[in-house]
C-alpha cells in the first residue's frame, strides 16, 4: 500500500548503509546508557541548559497555564489526612524566643510599608479552606488552613507600578521564596495563622506561613518575617539549588 517497488540495483548498497546506520545507533545507545549510568544531572554542559529550559517551563506555567481566578478543589474537613509531614531547614523546630515581639514587615516597592502584629493580621479579612497539599516529592495530604489573603495586604500596602515579585523571608535558617505577583494575588493565597481549626503549630511555620493550593509545598514559606515587593525576580532556598522557580501546580 505505502511501499513502492524499486530497482534491484539498490540492493548492493543496502548492506553498507545498514552497517553504518547500525554503528551510529550503537554509539548513540552507548552514550545514552552512559548518561543514565551515573545519575547524571547533565554536567557542566547540559545542566545549565536544563536550568534555562526550566525557566521556559516557568514561563509556560505562569503565563499560559496559571489562571488568576480558577480555584483549587476544596474538601470537607472530615476528609483531612491523618498526618501532614513538616519540614524546616534548621536543626530543630524554629521557635521565637519572644512571640509577642514578632512582627510581619511589608516593605520594598510599596507606597505604604507595614509592620503588622498577629492581632493586626487576625483583624483583617479571613479566608478558610480545606485543600490538598502537593509536595514536589510526590506525596499529598488534605488539611484545613485559615488566614488573611495576601491580596488584602496588597490592597493596604499599595505596591508601586514597577513591583512584579514578592520575596517572602523566614526566621528558619534564612529560608526564602520568590513569588510572581499574580500567584500571590490568587484568592486562595493566604498568610495562614491557623491549621485544622487550631493556631498554626510550630512544626508547620508558627506564627505565620504562606499558603496556597496553587503552588508546591516548597514555595509556601513558613515562619514568615517579611514580604518585600521588588522588580527583580527573587531566588529562593530550593529554587537556587535547581528546583523549578515557579513551582505552580
Amino acid at each position: 500500500m505505502t511501499e513502492r517497488q524499486t530497482p534491484r540495483r539498490q540492493d548492493a548498497k543496502l548492506h553498507e548503509v545498514d552497517r553504518r546506520a547500525f554503528v551510529k545507533l550503537a554509539v548513540a545507545g552507548g552514550a545514552a546508557s552512559l548518561v543514565a549510568a551515573c545519575g547524571w544531572d547533565g554536567g557542566r554542559l547540559i545542566r545549565p541548559a536544563l536550568l534555562d529550559w526550566s525557566r521556559v517551563n516557568d514561563w509556560v506555567g505562569e503565563k499560559i497555564l496559571f489562571s488568576p481566578t480558577r480555584l483549587a478543589r476544596t474538601y470537607d474537613p472530615r476528609e483531612r489526612s491523618a498526618m501532614l509531614p513538616s519540614y524546616f531547614i534548621s536543626d530543630m523546630t524554629p521557635m521565637l524566643r519572644d512571640p509577642g515581639a514578632w512582627r510581619l514587615r511589608v516593605d520594598g516597592m510599596v507606597a505604604r510599608p507595614l509592620d503588622l502584629s498577629l492581632d493586626d493580621l487576625m483583624a483583617m479579612p479571613r479566608v478558610a479552606y480545606t485543600v490538598k497539599h502537593h509536595c514536589v516529592e510526590g506525596w499529598s495530604a488534605i488539611a484545613s488552613w485559615h488566614g488573611v489573603p495576601v491580596s488584602a495586604l496588597v490592597e493596604r500596602c499599595r505596591p508601586l507600578a514597577g513591583a512584579r515579585f514578592i520575596r517572602f523571608a523566614s526566621f528558619d535558617a534564612g529560608y526564602t521564596n520568590g513569588w510572581d505577583l499574580a500567584s500571590a494575588l490568587h484568592p486562595q493565597t493566604i498568610l495562614a495563622y491557623g491549621m485544622n481549626d487550631n493556631p498554626l503549630p510550630p512544626a508547620h511555620g508558627a506564627p505565620l506561613r504562606l499558603y496556597s493550593p496553587t503552588k508546591l509545598g516548597y514555595k509556601l514559606t513558613k515562619y514568615l518575617v517579611s514580604m518585600t515587593f521588588t522588580d527583580q525576580r527573587p531566588g529562593g532556598y530550593w529554587e537556587d539549588q535547581g528546583y523549578p522557580w515557579f513551582g505552580g501546580i
Partner: protein, 226 residues
C-alpha cells in the same frame, strides 16, 4: 540475512517515521530514567496517612544505572525538558500518519479481530503457516495502536500530575492526584513490556524490519500484500 538476496527491496519507512522512531527511543529512555529518580522521593501511591493503592514497588529504590538526574531537582529538570521533544515527536509522527494515509495500515479496527485470532493461533503453533499479511499483521496493528494510545495516556497522566490545580478536571477524570501518579507509573512498565516484546519479535520473526527502520528499505519475508 544472507539467505535472502533475491528478494526485491521495497521502500518501507519514510524518514520522518525513522527519525521519530529512534529519537523517541532516546527521549523515552531519558523520561523513564528521570522518572525512576523522581519516583524515589515518594515511592508509593496514596495520600499521607491514608490507604495506599496496591503496588509491589512500594519503597523500591531503582538501581543507580537506571536513574537520571542525580537527585530530585536534577531529575525533574530532565523530565520537564524531555517532555517537550517527546510530545513534539509524537505529534510529528501522528501528523505524518494522517497526512500520508499510513494510519490505515496501523489502526486496529474491529474487522482485524479474526486476523488477530489467526496470528495468535500461529504463534501458539495451532497453525503451521504464517497468515498472509500486509505491512503489518493484525496483532502488530493492535500493538502499534495500543502503544500510540499508551503514549497519549502517558502525556495526559503526566499533565494531571504536573498541574493538578490548573488542570484539576483532568486530574479528577483520572481519579485524583495519587491515582494519576499511579497510572503514570504503570504506563512505564507497559512501555517497557512493549519494547521488550517488540525487540524479541523483530529479531525472531522479521530481522529485516530492523534494517527497514534504519535505512527505510525492506527486503524481508513479508513484503506488502495490501
Amino acid at each position: 540475512m544472507t539467505a535472502i538476496p533475491t528478494r526485491p527491496a521495497v521502500r518501507r519507512h519514510h524518514w520522518i517515521v525513522r527519525l521519530t522512531h529512534w529519537a523517541t527511543v532516546l527521549v523515552l529512555a531519558g523520561m523513564i530514567a528521570s522518572g525512576l529518580q523522581i519516583y524515589e522521593a515518594y515511592a508509593r501511591f496514596g495520600n499521607r496517612g491514608g490507604p495506599l493503592l496496591p503496588s509491589p514497588f512500594d519503597g523500591t529504590q531503582w538501581p543507580h544505572w537506571s536513574r537520571l538526574g542525580g537527585w530530585l531537582a536534577g531529575a525533574l529538570n530532565w523530565h520537564f525538558a524531555l517532555m517537550w521533544p517527546l510530545v513534539t515527536l509524537g505529534l510529528v509522527y501522528l501528523a505524518y500518519l494522517v497526512k500520508s494515509g499510513e494510519w490505515r495500515g496501523l489502526l486496529f479496527l474491529p474487522r482485524d479481530v479474526p486476523g488477530a485470532v489467526q496470528m495468535v493461533k500461529y504463534y501458539l503453533r495451532l497453525r503451521r503457516d504464517h497468515p498472509p499479511q500486509g505491512k503489518h499483521n493484525p496483532l502488530q496493528k493492535l500493538a502499534y495502536t495500543g502503544v500510540i494510545v499508551l503514549g497519549a495516556l502517558a502525556v495526559l497522566t503526566g499533565l494531571a500530575i504536573y498541574k493538578p490545580t490548573q488542570l484539576g478536571w483532568l486530574t479528577a477524570l483520572l481519579g485524583g492526584f495519587q491515582a494519576a501518579r499511579y497510572w503514570h507509573f504503570w504506563i512505564v512498565w507497559l512501555f517497557v513490556g512493549f519494547t521488550i516484546t517488540h525487540i524479541i519479535l523483530v529479531f525472531v520473526v522479521d530481522p529485516a524490519s530492523l534494517r527497514a527502520m534504519l535505512t527505510g528499505w525492506y527486503r524481508g519475508r513479508f513484503p506488502s500484500h495490501d
